[in-house]
């Protein structure tokens, strides 16, 4: 199975481990990832205003590259990139006027031919969690993870269409394929504070505190995430919460799901 692959800025720097474990696990599972050339930052956030056009170009150019390489799927990892790409692609497909405007600026016309997929989605739909379970070399029996979805993977409800926004199960099913236990806790889809941590740290810290408490109370030993920003917030504010003594819980490590996948595949 071949995919065009868009890494995004963070995957090449702060989240190098996310990319490394993705590439090694994909290879082990027989998934062929081709990084597209000359990609630019996706813009990190999907534009929420109707009078913006320029922020669509970068993702559409990447999608055009995927199409040019003869691939029908573009794989992403960072939840931010996934959100921007998936929504942009949907907008191009559904909004005729927007499509006309975007194409007026581009060398080639893009009509939304490529599908945007997340690695997690590929593992579920293209490989299949049953097959993944068979390929696991070292089952993570007895390990208790709190799957943390965050927002960008799932929302907006109508546009992302990855899983149920209130009761998602894709992480849980992934974990059970690896032989690990998923902790059920009601904060798994509550926002971690996102980019507020850049300027309003107090708010992000409060948000993380609630998630941490809930996961811990329900028996979690660590978090699994798919987003570098979620990982940063969960890790950074756990440190601070302990430093100021507001939270009595021990620190829960935060892993990218690909890290534990690599472990389970004994890579």
């Amino acid at each position: 199975m071949r995919y065009s692959y868009y890494p995004g800025c963070t995957l090449k720097t702060m989240a190098k481990v996310y990319e490394d474990t993705t590439l090694s696990t994909a290879k082990a599972l027989g998934l062929d990832l081709h990084e597209i050339k000359e990609w630019q930052c996706c813009g990190a956030l999907y534009p929420l205003n109707t009078d913006e056009i320029f922020s669509f170009f970068s993702p559409v150019r990447a999608l055009l590259q995927a199409r040019g390489a003869g691939e029908d799927k573009l794989l992403t990892l960072c939840a931010g990139c996934y959100n921007v790409f998936k929504r942009t692609n949907r907008a191009v497909r559904e909004d005729k006027e927007l499509r006309r405007k975007i194409n007026a600026f581009l060398e080639e016309d893009y009509m939304g031919e490529v599908d945007v997929v997340h690695y997690l989605e590929v593992l579920k739909n293209d490989l299949g969690f049953e097959i993944l379970a068979e390929r696991v070399k070292k089952r993570l029996t007895g390990r208790k993870f709190a799957p943390y979805y965050g927002c960008l993977l799932l929302k907006p409800r109508a546009e992302m269409d990855l899983d149920d926004v209130e009761n998602p199960t894709i992480f849980e099913n992934f974990l059970s394929a690896l032989g690990a236990a998923a902790v059920e806790y009601p904060y798994k889809t509550e926002c971690c504070g996102s980019y507020l941590s850049m300027a309003n740290e107090e708010i992000a810290s409060t948000a993380v505190g609630r998630i941490l408490n809930s996961a811990y109370k329900n028996g979690a030993e660590s978090f699994v995430v798919a987003c570098p920003l979620c990982k940063y917030n969960l890790e950074e504010y756990q440190k601070e919460l302990f430093a100021v003594g507001r939270e009595a819980n021990p620190k829960l490590p935060v892993y990218y799901f690909t890290e534990i996948l690599a472990e389970a595949l004994a890579l």
């Binding site: 995004g8 800025c9 929420l48 507020l196």
Partner: protein, 134 residues
């Protein structure tokens, strides 16, 4: 607070509706947005009140509220809104009304803490500057 008929017909509200693509009149004030907002405790104007003030034409009040800089666009509210109002889009439009004015930047690079500069992922920095500055 006093509201006049002129304010209710404010053209600024039309501008917010145009930039956001949302109809503020669709909101029937059920409050489901505010109840579920993960950062609502830090807001001075609650999400449902953003729409109520907009319905009353009190855009000026909205342009000066903290809420615009606190919303994380996590889309929890709009994924539950029974009237299909995308509140993050309304807040984005208000934020842009501020940012597009002279001196409207909310965040400058020198505001960032050393910790953020050292450890924060690019994704977070790019997002913050897209939301907080021109």
């Amino acid at each position: 607070m006093r509201v006049t008929a002129e304010e209710i017909n404010s053209t600024l509200v039309r501008e917010v509706e145009e930039v956001s693509g949302q109809k503020v009149s669709a909101c029937f004030q059920c409050g489901k947005c505010s109840g579920g907002c993960p950062v609502v405790l830090s807001m001075d104007v609650l999400p449902h009140q953003v729409l109520r003030y907009a319905q009353l034409g009190l855009v000026d009040k909205l342009l000066h509220c903290k809420t615009l800089w606190i919303c994380a666009s996590c889309q929890t509210c709009d994924s539950r809104c029974p009237q299909n109002v995308d509140i993050p889009k309304v807040i984005e439009a208000l934020r842009l009304l501020v940012l597009r004015n002279k001196g409207g930047n909310y965040l400058h690079p020198h505001d960032l803490s050393a910790k953020v500069l050292k450890n924060a992922p690019q994704q977070g920095l790019v997002s913050a500057f897209r939301k907080y500055a021109k």
